[in-house]
Symmetry: C2
Subunit: 368 residues, 2 copies
């Protein structure tokens, strides 16, 4: 189900901030999505399993400094695939087989032994794919001030990690200038849709690519891209980019890697910048990627820069202020793909890698 900030959707999301207290001390079954074991290629639904749980008492041990939360919205993000690999050399450790999947979520505090959080508070940050979670690492959580104008789920999207990724990726990595020719791949995704809109606000010419005609329409009609195309309908990506960028590309915001990155390199302008945000086209971190146009890096003096949003936390407050303001002024919109029920999470997550999601993929576990 795709939705942006329509009224029906907002109505669902801006309620329910007063529950929680009556749950304290109860023992719940606590449905979970368990990570079964390390994968080799693309994630599949049966790499995860729904488990009823052993029973969790909704009470925080005294002195633990932990909190117990009820999870409302869970985020499906492509980076999580990396945590399914048995590889410890990356920026984030792998998942633990037999335990619930970890990921970003919006949750409500049921009980707290941390003086920074009280019952009923809304928080966003790393939680588990389960109905209720005991969270020890509370310092990574951010308290959400309820705002009737902002859907709660946006705190894992527009105002969460993907939105922040788009913000710092565009402003801090791409070195954008008014009038720049900007290309965004996976452009209707959680990050891409915001990059394109920020580029438009900045006075750039923006083209996006996506994998269905529906997404292409969204890019042009809802998200304000100047042009968009379905890369699956293009036999020659290099030629497609040349058609949309006869003058060449100043900024390529790369969410996919591989053949698209290669095609973009062939079409970069002199002193062009490539911000490498993701490689969702690749099935594994050590997939072979073949380039024909690497020499363009020299001849066009291209900068290819990989980045992680976590290096820019000092900009988070500014990001929240900017994006919240622009959203309320209707300068930007945000498209979510909302699935209902924890049990829908594995299929929704796996769907990210075949482009099934239209917009930011979120799981609604409970609306209050």
């Amino acid at each position: 189900m795709m939705s942006n900030h329509d009224e029906q959707f907002e109505a669902t999301h801006t309620e329910g901030s007063k529950m929680g207290i009556d749950l304290v001390g109860k023992t719940v079954k606590n449905k979970q999505i368990i990570f079964k074991g390390y994968i080799d290629g693309s994630p599949m639904e049966n790499d995860m399993e729904l488990k009823l749980g052993d029973g969790l008492k909704l009470e925080v041990p005294k002195g633990s400094n932990a909190i117990v939360v009820k999870n409302l919205y869970l985020s499906c993000d492509p980076y999580m695939r990396g945590r399914m690999l048995d590889f410890r050399g990356s920026y984030i450790p792998p998942f633990t087989p037999g335990s619930a999947i970890e990921g970003f979520g919006v949750s409500k505090v049921v009980d707290s032994d941390d003086p920074n959080f009280k019952r009923g508070d809304l928080v966003s940050g790393i939680t588990n794919w389960e109905e209720y979670s005991l969270i020890h690492k509370t310092d990574q959580l951010r308290k959400i001030e309820q705002d009737d104008g902002i859907p709660l789920s946006y705190h894992v999207g527009l105002l969460g990690m993907p939105g922040f990724t788009a913000y710092v990726g565009f402003y801090e990595v791409c070195d954008p200038k008014k009038g720049d020719y900007v290309y965004v791949s996976a452009a209707s995704g959680a990050v891409g849709q915001l990059v394109g809109q920020l580029a438009k606000l900045h006075g750039c010419y923006v083209v996006g690519s996506a994998g269905t005609s529906k997404k292409v329409e969204l890019l042009k009609d809802k998200l304000g891209f100047d042009e968009a195309f379905n890369y699956k309908e293009e036999l020659d990506l290099d030629a497609a980019l040349m058609r949309y960028f006869p003058e060449g590309i100043d900024i390529y915001f790369d969410n996919v890697g591989g053949a698209m990155l290669d095609a973009a390199l062939a079409n970069m302008r002199i002193h062009g910048r490539v911000a490498v945000c993701g490689m969702v086209s690749q099935t594994n971190r050590t997939d072979t990627q073949t380039f024909l146009n690497m020499f363009s890096v020299i001849s066009k003096r291209v900068t290819i820069k990989g980045f992680l949003q976590s290096d820019f936390v000092h900009l988070y407050a500014r990001f929240l202020e900017d994006i919240t303001g622009w959203y309320k002024q209707r300068k930007i919109v945000y498209i979510e793909d909302m699935n209902n029920g924890l049990e829908s999470a594995p299929a929704a997550f796996v769907g990210l890698f075949s482009g099934k999601n239209v917009g930011k993929q979120v799981i609604c576990v409970a609306s209050e």
Copy 2:
């Protein structure tokens, strides 16, 4: 013949600034190295041919603003391979089949219609592979102040385009910091040897690779690299780099591209920088380059930056002052591979791509 600034060599190079005047008006046969036609793969000797010339009158047409020069030293540079391809999309146009090869040289003015140059002046810049040249584009020439402490041929090497490439590549592209771990490929070449020495002066730890044990010895014994290795003796480049950089690489100065770039990506430290200067390992500009470690660009937040020295001309005066000073203070040395005679140029040029040269490849056409 390999030489650095030994006495015998300097003696040959610091003479001969007074000839020229008596040649004016004479007609010379003018031996030339002709570019026969566009190539597809690696250049071969028979892509060029020695021609006696149709006779050139050593006199500048009045009003032409041109000069006639006698060529003393000609430079063999890897970028020239790109000009042998029938490809007009690069930063420099292709050679003209049937005409003499163009390249950097040190020359002496025989006759001049340009008020900026007079007979007997020494100049460096783009000339032709022939004994005498009529040069119309005099604005790209630089007048050389004869200096007994600096071999004339260094104006196509240490103080010419390759030296300037090393200087701006290291200081302006690599963002070097004291204590950085620096890796240089093709490290004994015209550019690499200076990059390594500048990195040492900057307080970095420097490892170089080259393709013969002789070059490896030079890197360690003459050029002051901390370590060096022969890449041809390594079955696994990734493992070799891990051995020399157990802490990882902060800066990779890439002169070769391809498999070595891939191996370096696997070994970069967080926020590492790759300056892409050349791709001499590739036989063509659109050779397939296969990468297994492109994902490191994201996970290690690596910046890969291609550059051309021509974007930094505003730094040329500072470069000349710095490098001349450091050379005279014996803080840096420079190794040349000097071939004698214009007819030796094709083989010397072709040899660049199999690593036959030891140090900067220069052709001595005439010593005065």
